[in-house]
Symmetry: C2
Subunit: 235 residues, 2 copies
Amino acid sequence: MAKTSALPKFIQLSEMLIREIAAGHLTDGARLPPERDMADDLGVAVGTLRKALADVEAKGLLDRVQGSGNYVRHRPAVDSVYAFFRLELLKGGGLPTAQVLAVDRLPKPDAFGQLGGHHEGHRIIRLRSLDGVLIALEEIWLDGAQPAQIAVSDLSDSLYHFYRHDLGVIIASVEDRIGVDPMPAWTPDAFHLKSGEIAGYIERVSWTAAKEPAEFSRTWYDAKRAVYISRMGKG
Amino acid sequence: MAKTSALPKFIQLSEMLIREIAAGHLTDGARLPPERDMADDLGVAVGTLRKALADVEAKGLLDRVQGSGNYVRHRPAVDSVYAFFRLELLKGGGLPTAQVLAVDRLPKPDAFGQLGGHHEGHRIIRLRSLDGVLIALEEIWLDGAQPAQIAVSDLSDSLYHFYRHDLGVIIASVEDRIGVDPMPAWTPDAFHLKSGEIAGYIERVSWTAAKEPAEFSRTWYDAKRAVYISRMGKG
DNA sequence: AGGAATTTGTGCGTATGTATC
DNA sequence: AGATACATACGCACAAATTCC
């Protein structure tokens, strides 16, 4: 196996908590135990747990209130990411999470000209993981004619929930590339999945090279992942 | 004076560093002293300084490299925020900083119909501070016809630099409201400044109420500031 | 209304790991 | 290989906000 040194504890904790919330084991509004109790149960120092909790809060899944407690923020179960997330079927039921890399308003590629009347579109690039393992890069285009207010913060949770309830737009294209760790060389016809309940269709997107990792995100670990993706393009 | 409990040390340190960088005292590429030395000089614990450095890094003004050092990231002096920031003239040379609260694509108010052909515009709301003291709320509209890729991350540094170099658009309207601490009641005719080198003009913008603080940002302090602004609207 | 208990936030100091030089 | 420097992790003490009695 590759020389994979373990991730830091606070990252492991953060991802564990996110998976617990995404899976519905921690429902919306639920209050976590006091940090000291939680840290004792998990066998870590309070400061380490707090760093993980700050990470979950930054992803919008937790509400931390001084003097009160840590409260889970998650959409109800009916809007679970499971409803629209098809990747897990190919991996045996892992828990999906996502991380937005970039949201840009760009001229729409010709391949999508027939969908929507606008000459521009919103391009969203996300990393998708199952059980914390990076498995896919996702590129999605939304038609630009909608009065869309798109920002990274809006997309940090369940992207599809955002589509249906907040935006009400049509997905122009969804491309899923499936891989294992380490990611194999990318080929144009890797995987194309029909996207379930979403009113849209599948189309291959020509992948433009990613910007520098530093432009995508701010933490060391995010940058690592971005570099990882960059290697995909060279395959 | 009002009961102003001091801000936490790590926030004070963070804002001090940001001002030092914005003023050009720490030039682009400069390497900071080792964290232990720096913490000793400043009379704080290393962990406290590290929290401040993480904050500066999150704002894109610092590059932290393990095993190497902390490196300043800043635009060259010719593009200093001073070139386009007029507020400081009224306060005696304070160092301006800004924080983006919201970036939305919305139908353009009728008052701006004569500028630009598009019916939509990008509304940007920023807090502006001098020497760390909050003094103004800024609302700016850009015409939506431009192929603008607007996201909060693009605006975190110098907004005017972004206008001129990255976007190349015309500022539809700029409204500056000047105040002191505590912020006085807002009145429609508070202050309207001609915006210097910017090709645009000044117009009063009817201020729509801010969303909930939680929608703007994630940290406790950002939320505090948002609440502070809310009180302005009621004055 | 008020005060005690609970819970998170801040700050400190230290030891060890890991990347860079 | 050694030295330097940032990253992680631990534990503790006190402050501040909330909640409860």
